[in-house]
């Protein structure tokens, strides 16, 4: 297991390294000059050149990349804005704030939104899926399946504003979505996130319902499940001990992908509800050609996805003893 984790982590570092190179090259391939953007309306050639120098954009690209890497690992005191301890992504061109600090500021929002949503959609989705599979062929199954089908064909940017309009602006049943620190005011944290959670988990839950149902039905037709029934084990026992275990594999796989990409920033959800998370940060960084911020967000999201992948693969080993991690 340890070997597996070490190997996968090393692999992840290599991927991140390659990703940073690609981001770097793509950025300089863009026909936009971030210095020009910062220079503003009163820009003179001298100012622009000065800015280039300050930002380090006058150096050759490989050298810039090297500086980026060393800063990341060792930190740097060369920035005009102040010291930048490792992991140092530098200072944002646009806001002049330390990139790492900005990421850490935005992270709790995304984390709260995503993890809270994930808990909701897992419970609702898997629960409904299991019930549908248990009651296969009945009215319950059919209505669950049909409902899940309808909901999963909707999108956040439709369901989100709809929920806002009805639940917040019309009926005033819920607070307007906002992010409050959990440590400062748990009540406000909860009430500010409840609508985003509901909307996010509705859509995801419908997909997990369909997945859990079909996965369970497939497992229930496995021969080893029939063997367990032939041994006299009860339907409930066979359902939860034999079939459920096997149906977890595809669910965990998809959940790993979903969670990873959500943690990297639920862009649409954050925009819809005006939550200042990583997703919005990503969009801003591209919009302002903010290289340090872009690299920071990119690498952070990628790390999240890779981390989730490793966790999923490790989870396989717990679920299925045939998957030996070496």
């Amino acid at each position: 297991m340890l070997r597996f984790l070490v190997r996968r982590s090393l692999g992840a570092v290599v991927i991140l390294f390659l990703l940073s190179i690609v981001t770097f090259l793509l950025f300089f391939g863009m026909p936009r000059d971030p210095a020009l953007l910062m220079c503003g309306k009163t820009c003179t050639p001298a100012n622009l050149e000065n800015l280039h120098r300050v930002l380090g954009l006058d150096k050759p690209i490989p050298e810039q990349y090297w500086i980026f890497l060393t800063n990341l690992v060792t930190g740097s005191d060369d920035f005009a804005q102040g010291p930048c301890p490792a992991p140092c992504f530098g200072y944002s061109y646009h806001s002049n704030e330390q990139v790492w600090g900005t990421l850490m500021d935005r992270l709790p929002t995304t984390l709260s939104l995503t993890l809270g949503g994930a808990v909701c959609f897992l419970i609702i989705g898997l629960g409904a899926g299991l019930i549908a599979a248990w009651k296969r062929g009945t009215i319950v199954d059919k209505s669950f399946t049909a409902g899940a089908m309808v909901i999963s064909s909707m999108q956040i940017y439709f369901l989100g504003p709809l929920a806002l309009a009805i639940l917040v602006y019309q009926t005033h049943l819920f607070d307007k979505p906002a992010y409050n620190e959990f440590t400062e005011n748990p009540g406000a944290w909860f009430s500010g996130l409840i609508i985003p959670w509901v909307v996010l988990s509705t859509i995801f839950a419908s997909q997990y319902t369909r997945m859990a149902r079909s996965s369970m039905i497939e497992q229930l037709q496995e021969e080893h499940v029939r063997t367990a029934r032939a041994k006299g084990m009860s339907r409930r026992y066979v359902f939860f001990r034999y079939a459920w275990r096997g149906s977890l594999i595809p669910i965990v796989t998809i959940f790993g992908i979903d969670l990873g990409s959500l943690l990297g920033g639920a862009i649409i959800t954050e925009y819809t509800f005006g939550l200042p998370g990583l997703g919005r940060l990503a969009v801003e960084s591209v919009f302002f050609s903010d290289l340090p911020l872009l690299l920071g967000v990119m690498l952070f999201s990628a790390t999240m996805i890779l981390l989730c992948n490793i966790v999923v693969d490790a989870a396989y080993a717990f679920i299925d003893p045939r998957v030996r991690l070496a």
């Binding site: 296969r136 062929g137 496995e222 021969e223 080893h224 499940v225 029939r226 063997t227 367990a228 029934r229 032939a230 041994k231 006299g232 084990m233 009860s234 339907r235 034999y242 275990r245 096997g246 679920i319 299925d320 003893p321 045939r322």
Partner: protein, 353 residues
């Protein structure tokens, strides 16, 4: 020998004294294409401690019959009619909880492919211990000890260690041994073995077949042994029932059915099977045509479209009238007993060489 011209349609009522008595069993599945009549009017009895071999090709209904005995068919798509009496207890109408008490306890099953039939997620020991805990109300520890004991009995070396292994860590033959251990753990009176050696290599098959025979001596279970291989059945069974397209076509002791078969289908099977002692230069005599679709089974005798002897019956009896199978030694065919005897001796036996 019984002649089979009985016109009376009503089958003999189920024998409440018999260990297992199946009467006029009909099993059909609803599918998208229509209703598949997998088993159509099957009756047989099984004595305590004896072995009945059911032989037939795919789609003959042999596996379905036995899943139905233990109620393992999917009730949503399946209709079951008829009687199944196990020690006088009616099983087709039994409640699920009653069947659960029976399964793995009084009646156990061994399946064809031990790799897919054992759960990959639990240790072999646990899977063997589970039914023992449930049916014998044994503690976890006692059940585990029993599992280890059973693994030793079926010839798994180092059973205490191997009980902690998962099925994928066993070889094919060992898995089937574990499966046998699991089936016998509660000392069942009835063991249903559905092609238990088909997925195994021939040398391993020989080991497993002998093991089953030896264990049957010790445990005294009655066995229903399902296979498509006449050689295996000759080795294992006391009595044989030959099935074709959902019906039994011939029944008798091993010697009767294999050495003096009466049904054209049995003749066909014997003639189409190469043996180690047959003349290798004589061409095989296959049964012409293919097995019928059970969506639209042929009228009358279901074998008549492939039967090369139906002219000898004359008229349209084979096409219109279903030949019946009497209890004990008999075959469901419209040929007269005399015809069956002479055809076998003069035309079939010489070919068997």
């Amino acid at each position: 020998m019984t002649t089979l011209t009985k016109e009376a349609g009503a089958p003999v009522p189920a024998d409440a004294d018999a260990f297992l008595s199946v009467r006029d069993l009909h099993v059909s599945f609803r599918t998208e294409d229509g209703v598949v009549r997998a088993v159509d009017g099957l009756s047989f009895d099984l004595e305590r401690g004896s072995t009945l071999g059911i032989v037939g090709e795919s789609g003959s209904g042999k596996s379905v019959t036995n899943l139905t005995i233990l109620g393992l068919h999917n009730p949503m798509f399946t209709t079951v009619e008829g009687e199944i009496l196990l020690e006088g207890q009616e099983l087709t109408t039994a409640r699920e909880s009653e069947l659960e008490r029976l399964r793995g306890n009084k009646a156990a099953m061994i399946f064809q492919d031990p790799l897919t039939a054992l759960s990959p997620y639990y240790t072999v020991g646990r899977q063997i211990a589970e039914p023992y805990m449930k049916h014998m109300r044994a503690s976890k520890k006692a059940a585990w000890e029993r599992a280890v004991e059973m693994l030793g009995k079926v010839g798994i070396p180092n059973p205490r260690q191997r009980a902690k292994d998962y099925p994928h860590q066993f070889s094919g033959g060992m898995r089937q041994r574990a499966m046998i251990a699991m089936a016998l753990v509660c000392d069942p009176d009835l063991l249903i073995a559905d092609e238990p050696t088909t997925a195994l290599d021939v040398t391993v098959q020989a080991q497993i077949l002998d093991l089953l025979k030896d264990l049957q001596q010790e445990f005294g279970s009655a066995i229903i042994f399902i296979t498509h291989d006449l050689g295996v059945i000759a080795d294992m069974a006391d009595d044989i029932m030959v099935m074709y397209a959902g019906r039994a076509v011939e029944r008798g002791t091993v010697d009767e059915v294999l050495r003096a078969p009466q049904h054209p289908y049995t003749w066909g099977l014997l003639n189409s099977m190469p043996r180690l002692d047959s003349d290798p230069n004589a061409p095989l005599a296959p049964i012409p045509g293919t097995p019928p679709s059970l969506l639209h089974p042929p009228s009358g005798c279901r074998f008549h479209p492939r039967c090369t002897f139906r002219d000898r019956v004359g008229g349209t009896r084979c096409e219109t009238e279903i030949p019946l199978l009497a209890p004990d030694r008999s075959s469901a065919c419209h040929l007269t007993a005399e015809q069956k005897r002479t055809i076998f001796i003069e035309e079939i036996k010489p070919r068997l060489g």
